[in-house]
């Protein structure tokens, strides 16, 4: 037993399962009311977004303010899928899923094609990929949806209603995340080239552009059901604790496994010294895109979770001010520390939306945002490296390989005669 407890994988899984059971029990027993349940789900969503940002900024060194843009894309896309589905319209589901598949396939083809050339400019890469993605979605809208929309609808509805609902929800989450991933890929190709500060500014621009588009979904974009600046209502409230838990654990595990691999080390090397990384043979451009896309997929997934918990989406949720939250969370938690991000992510929402909102006296609502920047200032002055620094709990820590048992030989002894050492 003690042996088992010392096994970090085992303890982690045990802990996770315990958390799951306890929260589930509290929810089932009605101890956690809808409000606090919402806070937990919200915390999980924000933490997922922040983990994505930590991958991009903390681990890969690319300063991004664009996470909320992808969060919004994921939220609106998945919400649209389920919104239309419950109104007997499978078009969003079919378009997003098949459009993504087609777009990904075409983009893959384009990348393979471009690899046959050298000296391809980033804008060229962007253009070809962009056209491929547009073509993919165009095909889905124009041909796939009219052709098989009805069939899919009938087929999914033939399943027992509980199962079909869960399946649709799953597909909606996947669809939202994939869409966020595709957009981030297209956006990332040219913009990641810019280098850290300018990249940050461009991503800020991205968030604001997304916000403006969301404000005008019904006028500029052709989505009347999103109702522009009035807010999208009528999204089915399908997010449940198991879904939140599964998505959250998936994000944590994927991120951990990614970071503790050769690719993860390559991602870290870009943060440390991009030029040097390039000159030891790392394709830094693709590492940056990879981290950016994975981070954005996390954000898109979180958006889907959040949308189906709130059941109401409004563009201000994804506005300028809240878009700083993930950045603040990862800096607080410690750049490059998953543990820190997870702790502060939940803590942040608990504090800001839970405790302060509920327990500040009447009329002090507005003081919340006066106190919070002061806390921010104090925190930065007192502990600028973040709460956790780069500390990780054992399960998330990078494994240090043991020293080789063979006697380590000093240089002088190894070298003298080349013949001595057999290759």
């Amino acid at each position: 037993m003690r042996q088992l407890l010392r096994n970090t994988n085992f303890t982690f899984i045990l802990g996770a399962v315990l958390v799951f059971i306890v929260v589930q029990a509290l929810i089932s027993l009605g101890v956690l009311n809808a409000y606090w349940q919402g806070i937990i789900f919200w915390g999980a969503a924000i933490t997922m977004v922040s983990l994505g940002l930590n991958l991009i900024y903390g681990f890969n060194g690319q300063f991004s303010l664009g996470q909320f843009g992808f969060y919004a894309i994921g939220a609106y896309a998945s919400a649209d899928i389920t919104y239309r589905w419950v109104r007997n319209d499978p078009s969003a589901l079919v378009v997003v899923i098949f459009g993504s598949i087609l777009a990904l396939a075409l983009m893959f083809g384009v990348s393979a094609f471009l690899r046959r050339f050298y000296g391809v400019a980033t804008l060229t890469k962007f253009l070809f990929n962009f056209l491929a993605a547009v073509l993919g979605f165009f095909l889905a809208v124009r041909f796939v949806n009219p052709a098989i929309g009805k069939v899919i609808y009938a087929a999914l509805n033939a399943l027992p209603s509980g199962i079909s609902q869960q399946l649709i929800f799953f597909l909606a989450l996947v669809g939202g995340a994939t869409l966020a991933g595709i957009v981030s890929y297209l956006f990332g190709i040219p913009v990641l080239e810019l280098g850290s500060d300018y990249f940050g500014i461009a991503t800020l621009g991205f968030t604001i552009i997304v916000k403006v588009l969301l404000d005008n979904t019904d006028t500029i974009l052709p989505f009347p059901e999103m109702k522009g600046a009035r807010g999208m209502v009528g999204i089915p409230k399908w997010t449940t604790w198991p879904w939140v838990f599964i998505c959250f654990m998936a994000v944590v595990l994927v991120m951990r496994n990614l970071i503790h691999s050769s690719t993860g080390r390559a991602i870290l090397s870009v943060r440390e010294d991009e030029r040097a990384a390039e000159l030891v043979g790392i394709d830094t451009a693709s590492q940056k895109i990879l981290a950016f896309v994975v981070g954005s997929v996390f954000a898109g997934l979180a958006g889907g979770i959040r949308a189906h918990d709130l059941a109401f989406l409004h563009p201000t949720t994804f506005g300028f001010l809240p878009s700083f939250n993930p950045l603040i969370i990862i800096v607080f938690g410690g750049l490059g520390s998953m543990t820190g991000t997870i702790i502060t992510g939940f803590f942040w929402i608990f504090l800001l939306e839970g405790l302060l909102r509920l327990y500040l006296p009447e009329g002090f609502e507005t003081w919340r945002f006066v106190v919070y920047p002061l806390v921010l200032l104090l925190m930065m002055l007192l502990r600028p490296q973040g709460l956790m620094g780069r500390y990780e709990i054992a399960f998330l820590r990078r494994p240090l390989p043991p020293l080789r048992v063979k006697e380590a030989s000093p240089v002088q002894e190894v070298i003298p005669q080349a013949g001595e050492v057999t290759a």
């Binding site: 050339f117 050298y118 400019a121 913009v191 300018y198 621009g205 800096v331 921010l376 200032l377 930065m380």
Partner: protein
């Protein structure tokens, strides 16, 4: 050995590759065509409605000059401490509110009349307005210096992100502290302008003035041209004169005033029947004050001790310190300058648009920042050109594309400019770094 096999394979792949130049050309053509298409669509809309077009250009310049004042603050601060001072937009907001209080509570804009009741009303208006602006500038300079002292300086040795987060914190603080009911409240407030706004008409601009202005502008242009030719031949003194702020002042001020007044003068005579433009005195005052402040700034940065120290510190802080420059002081001075410009910008913005709000600084702040980046961050002329560009593009896109998209267009422009020229339009000349 497997290593070589692998390498040979990579090499084979390389050998099969072709040069991507053709693809790049294709994509350049596609982008160019897309650009031309956009210009064509917008241009056609503009041509169909020239009156609106010219009106929007005027409005765009007005907005652009205000952005320029804010953008300079961003650019100077970034140039010297490499910090995106997110709170700068809120300093601008505070500037507007300070002038609101000085005007509505203290009647500061009327003090000359209160002291010397018989004074010429125009002179009193000018002095009063200038006082109001100065009061805001001073307050904002103090605010900016305080901010620097307590929020940024302690973090200077830390990674830059710490200061950035603090800047965000300061920004939130100013916004929401300002939003408290006993501070600025969270309502839109109608702004009492320091002077009466009226629409200009031809009688107010005697042709004599115009003649003088055009003369000024023309002489400045000729002198500039001569200096430029001499400078290009390698005459160092001519090169120095070419950058003289007073000469530039002549060019800018004379030029803009000349153009604006000519439009106004011509309006009723020739164009009103076709175009129906309106320009107010506020427009001219805003442009004029902006230009004057810009020239003063240029003078400070270029010719004074502190300005030289700023440029040196922007270039290389440790060395400047070794050369005996008090870098902390220089940074504080930079913040003071930046803050005062933002304060003036706040007053002008409020005068132009007549409404103030505790969150009003966010969007103009961001846009000015965008302007600074487009112009080439760290460059003063860059900030100016970028601000005018953003002002024009924003107002024109509001007129001809779609009003809600104006922000999106401004930021798209940012991304496009960054892609084509990451260092911004003027970003290369390090001589202009501050």
């Amino acid at each position: 050995m497997s290593v070589t096999v692998e390498a040979r394979r990579i090499e084979q792949r390389m050998l099969q590759r072709r040069n991507g130049v053709v693809l790049n050309r294709i994509s350049q053509v596609v982008f160019a065509l897309a650009g031309i298409l956009v210009l064509y669509v917008v241009g056609r809309a503009a041509a169909a409605n020239l009156g609106v077009f010219f009106q929007q250009v005027l409005n765009g310049f007005q907005l652009g000059f205000i952005y320029a004042l804010i953008a300079l603050g961003y650019t100077m601060v970034y140039g010297i401490v490499k910090l995106i001072n997110f709170a700068h937009g809120d300093v601008f907001m505070v500037g507007a509110f300070v002038s609101f209080f000085t005007i509505s509570l203290l009647n500061l804009h009327q003090w000359p009349l209160a002291v010397w009741p018989g004074m010429n009303p125009t002179a009193a208006m000018v002095i009063g307005t200038v006082t109001v602006i100065l009061a805001s500038m001073l307050t904002c300079a103090l605010l900016a210096v305080t901010m620097e002292r307590f929020a940024y300086r302690p973090l200077r040795a830390m990674p830059r992100i710490a200061a950035l987060i603090t800047a965000i914190g300061v920004s939130f603080f100013l916004e929401y502290f300002g939003g408290l009911p006993f501070v600025f409240t969270n309502n839109y407030i109608t702004y009492p302008r320091p002077f009466e706004v009226f629409v200009l008409n031809a009688d107010m601009v005697p042709p004599l003035w115009l003649g003088i202005l055009w003369g000024m502008c023309g002489i400045a242009a000729i002198v500039y041209g001569i200096l430029k030719v001499l400078g290009n031949r390698g005459n160092a003194r001519a090169q120095a004169w070419q950058r003289n702020p007073f000469l530039q002042f002549g060019m800018l001020f004379g030029g803009f005033l000349g153009v604006a007044l000519t439009i106004i003068w011509l309006t009723p005579r020739l164009v009103r029947t076709h175009f129906d433009l309106t320009a107010s005195n506020a427009m001219l005052i805003i442009m004029g004050i902006s230009v004057i402040l810009l020239v003063i700034l240029q003078y400070i940065v270029r010719y004074t001790r502190i300005g030289k120290a700023m440029r040196a510190s922007a270039y290389d802080k440790p060395t400047s310190r070794l050369m005996g420059i008090n870098v902390d002081m220089v940074i504080a001075a930079t913040f003071a300058l930046a803050g005062s410009l933002a304060g003036a910008g706040g007053v002008l913005y409020a005068t132009a648009y007549n409404r103030i709000h505790h969150l009003m600084g966010i969007i103009p702040g961001l846009k000015s920042f965008v302007a600074a980046v487009i112009g080439g961050i760290g460059s003063i002329p860059g900030a100016f050109v970028g601000a005018l560009t953003i002002g024009l593009v924003e107002v024109l896109s509001a007129g001809f594309i779609s009003s809600p998209m104006r922000d999106a267009v401004a930021f798209s422009l940012l991304i496009i400019v960054l892609l084509i020229r990451p260092q911004g339009i003027f970003g290369e000349a390090p001589g202009e770094k501050v």
